[in-house]
Symmetry: C2
Subunit: 289 residues, 2 copies
Amino acid sequence: MFKRVVICGVGLIGGSFALALRQAGLVETLVGVGRRRETLEEAQQLGLIDEIATDWAVALKGADLLLLAMPVGQMSAVMAAAAPHLEPQTLVTDGGSTKADVFEAVYSHLNHCLANVVPAHPIAGAEKSGPSAAFAELYRGKRVVLTPLPENAPESIERVRAAWAACGAVVSQMSPQDHDRVFAAVSHLPHLLAFGLVHQIQGRGNAEQLFGFAASGFRDFTRIAGSHPEMWRDICVANRHALLAELDAYLTELAYLRALLMQGDGAGLESLFAEASAARNAWAEKYLK
Amino acid sequence: MFKRVVICGVGLIGGSFALALRQAGLVETLVGVGRRRETLEEAQQLGLIDEIATDWAVALKGADLLLLAMPVGQMSAVMAAAAPHLEPQTLVTDGGSTKADVFEAVYSHLNHCLANVVPAHPIAGAEKSGPSAAFAELYRGKRVVLTPLPENAPESIERVRAAWAACGAVVSQMSPQDHDRVFAAVSHLPHLLAFGLVHQIQGRGNAEQLFGFAASGFRDFTRIAGSHPEMWRDICVANRHALLAELDAYLTELAYLRALLMQGDGAGLESLFAEASAARNAWAEKYLK
């Protein structure tokens, strides 16, 4: 399916894509590009990539597919650097968690090849990052959302869809605006809230005592606060408008909860908790197996 | 060690205590008391208790130890009902997640036997509740915090400590005020926040779409939103002063995060995320094995 696939950012997302494509037998040569030589060498030693390219001209010579899998804050600079070397047949997709900013970067730098650029967001992650965290099954059964451009050629969308599907993903499509609103609500806001809770506790004089009595509820609630700071900085900045709207809706919810607590309104609290609990359990029943 | 142990509330907490004491060979007869006959019968069939008592006089006749393991909102009424039947040798402990309110109930109803009443909070839970959720290993390696009364006899504290230790728990002591502040921060607030997030999403027109794209971050962040609504109503009402103080501290944190987002301050966000991430990962390294 692909003779030469170039992966920019050979960490969890890019490395797992490489391993999955290889396992599916769909690629001849995998080429790694990235900021740090050590990371690329580690990825090569781990068998994620066959070649390291230090130069976009060399990397993209004869390339069928380019995956951009860096933190979203680097998208624009990387697209600008890669743009002159994209060939007519080269498809471009990405692994960014936000899409409006990727669109902006695409229209700024890749105007000459809009037919071939199909943005994507794989809904898969882990606390670990870097090449050693990559594994071929990361995308198995996970969702990948494509946010095609109006200018995309139908066969480009289909080939990019097929590449992600070959990794085991369940592929769907959305507009970038819908995408960013949905993920602000169910992913970006929870990350912000978890980072905030841990930050707020660790700054206290009795942080050691507090952490010492934290148990399984705290463990699960804050798992995502262990996530990659740079990646989440970029997501929050890129998607700050949708995220602010979500944060404000949540602050309204907290103001309501605060009023119930102030009034000692047990019935009001119980009814809210019962609705949340029923919804959470219904969600788990439907989506967690 | 104990001839007759009475468990009021034969669910996850009470039932697991019963099973663990039995497994440790420390009890001859286990007696169950509770609101609902069916629950008591289920507990008896599951072997959590030997006898069902429908009357406090019968239940407490010759009892060595009474465990109060109902939602904390029932503490005061249960203590008032049990009080006339407590014998001079009967120790009392409880499994309540808040302690200032338990103290208030103790001083209201159990003034005649303060030497023997040693409040406790086992830091162990699960999403499931009821007799069928109970298991003997629930407390193994988990913390139990005793909040003794100034009036406690040292040997009462020691016997209650030994009972919880026999369940496999790591027992420590704290004042009820410190207890309630610590758990407001690391347990009660995260529960409130998780309930609030799910409640806020499930009330929307596009809730189905949002839930459909929620992934592992959402799953873990909201696990505790599936908790028992009545239990958490009681905890939030009982500990509302400490919880309001925590909520307000958290709202200050969110106001700061909101300002960083408004300004698109990537450096500020990254620095906060990096501190939180380092603290979360250090906590996991130390406490999760």
